[in-house]
Symmetry: C2
Subunit: 300 residues, 2 copies
């Protein structure tokens, strides 16, 4: 998507370096940081420089690819194994992260010698990011069909392009609908306690020139009761085999209120967010559902 | 209630001066301000130095009493009439304000000459504040019966003693139950956008040593879904003849979620909050339901 007219993605790889938008500084400052090795990339995931399930997945894939590229000749698999454990411990909320490390690891394993493993890992990480963009774009196309001209969409947290590599999940339908000439207004839940709606969703909608208003999380039910919300679209951290959705705190309240007021409620997710290994939401350990960063987020 | 061991009320009259706790500075600073005339008291209501329906009522009664005491001998009723209009325009959300000005005005009208009107007005304003304390205390006694030992109460906004002259409405049952030896834990909704829960409710519960936790407004439904809330108690700005409740934004979402999860939901109000002149909630003009201050709140 665009930032002051320039197209950007949230996270990408340039040579052996992973680059990403520093989301902790938004909306006050737009900065791109460089992570020279897998440890720096893992740290960026942990402190939420990059966040959002699909974007975390892409960053984790890149981090593991960096590890294979950095690995010493003496024990490349031991090095990569330790790196994988480090990356997987950063933010275990989202299924996408594990999806990415599993896939990059499997690609490396198919290679015949260590140097080949690094190439295969980098290639797999790039392919994963590219597929993530394609799947978000496809999600947008399907979702846009739900939006009539003049639609008023309520969203919670940030599941826009900043939460993915590009396009977003919950906001992809909005971007695609607007590109097709429809008028769309977005009610942006502030999303306390970290204010991802006020900080990130409002920022990215503003960069694309899409009408929106940040509202107190408390106001959503009132707007629904007055018929000012046509539909709710949110993203998800993880979707269990039975369809149970794990997402940012507050999603439950929006869903209950949407049902109360007869408003359609959609969860927009790419395939990488499904976790068929868990039968339902309650089976996901509580610490994996709401961990947050282990240290306060720092902007350095 | 107590502040560092000293008993305080939210607003009171000393001679011709109205004194009140400066609530815009809480929880960072505890200060009592003096309003030497009715204009200063009205301004304090407008900028939310004093807020909460019953506390606004008491302050409004005192302000009108000040006006009668200040009134020039030439046209005391004209002066008082203008003062009443000024006071009634400060924060028309709450019924209590009009209840107070009507009552103080009626008391003044029964006096036989202007000087007597001032005395009668001051006396009526003081009586109104004293009755408000008594009715909150009685409310607490009734509500405390709902709280078992170990009860976990969720509340929204501040309907504690700072919102009244003393004891509070929603929190009165908590204070009375704790005084009777019961253990009570309070979940305090942060209450965005003005954070009255985080700023005021947490402060006054802390001063009384009552266990509590401030939560993001978004977290309430999740706590309810996990069985960690035994009941919800909120105050109200106004209650219509049919029982419809007008209260701080976010109350609707809590009520809908409480029903979803089978949790009792109570609205604690004194008689002065009932407005039998309006048949139901939708009949209350929207600008009287959510006006907020006309200028940003200033701490001076």
């Amino acid at each position: 998507m665009r930032v002051d007219g320039t197209p950007y993605q949230t996270v990408w790889m340039e040579g052996a370096t992973v680059r990403m938008i520093e989301q902790n500084r938004l909306p006050f400052e737009f900065a791109v940081i460089s992570c020279p090795d897998h440890r720096a990339t893992a740290e960026a995931i942990r402190v939420m420089t990059v966040r959002g399930a699909p974007a975390i997945g892409a960053a984790a894939g890149f981090a593991l690819a960096q590890a294979f590229a950095e690995a010493p000749a003496r024990d490349p698999w031991g090095y990569a194994r330790a790196a994988r454990a480090l990356v997987e411990a950063t933010r275990p909320t989202a299924r996408d992260l594990f999806h990415a490390t599993e896939r990059v690891w499997a690609a490396a394993e198919t290679a015949e010698h260590p140097a080949g493993a690094a190439d295969a890992a980098v290639q797999a990480a790039r392919a994963l990011a590219a597929e993530s963009v394609a799947s978000c774009r496809a999600l947008g196309g399907q979702g846009a069909a739900l939006l009539g001209d003049g639609a008023r969409v309520l969203t919670h947290c940030n599941a826009g392009w900043l939460a993915t590599v590009d396009y977003g999940t919950a906001l992809a339908p909005v971007y695609v609908a607007v590109a097709a000439g429809k008028r769309v207004h977005v009610w942006v839940d502030e999303t306390r306690p970290r204010a991802q709606g006020a900080r990130l969703t409002a920022w990215e909608l503003g960069r694309e020139g899409i009408p929106h208003a940040v509202i107190a999380d408390n106001a959503a039910a009132w707007l629904m009761s007055r018929g000012e919300v046509d539909l709710v679209i949110v993203g998800a951290d993880r979707v269990a085999a039975n369809g149970d959705v794990v997402n940012k705190v507050g999603t439950l309240a929006k869903a209950v209120c949407a049902r109360e007021f007869g408003i359609p409620f959609y969860v927009a997710v790419p395939p990488s967010t499904f976790d068929r290994a868990v039968p339902d939401g309650p089976s996901i350990p509580i610490e994996e559902r709401s961990p947050g960063p282990k240290t306060p987020c720092s902007v350095t």
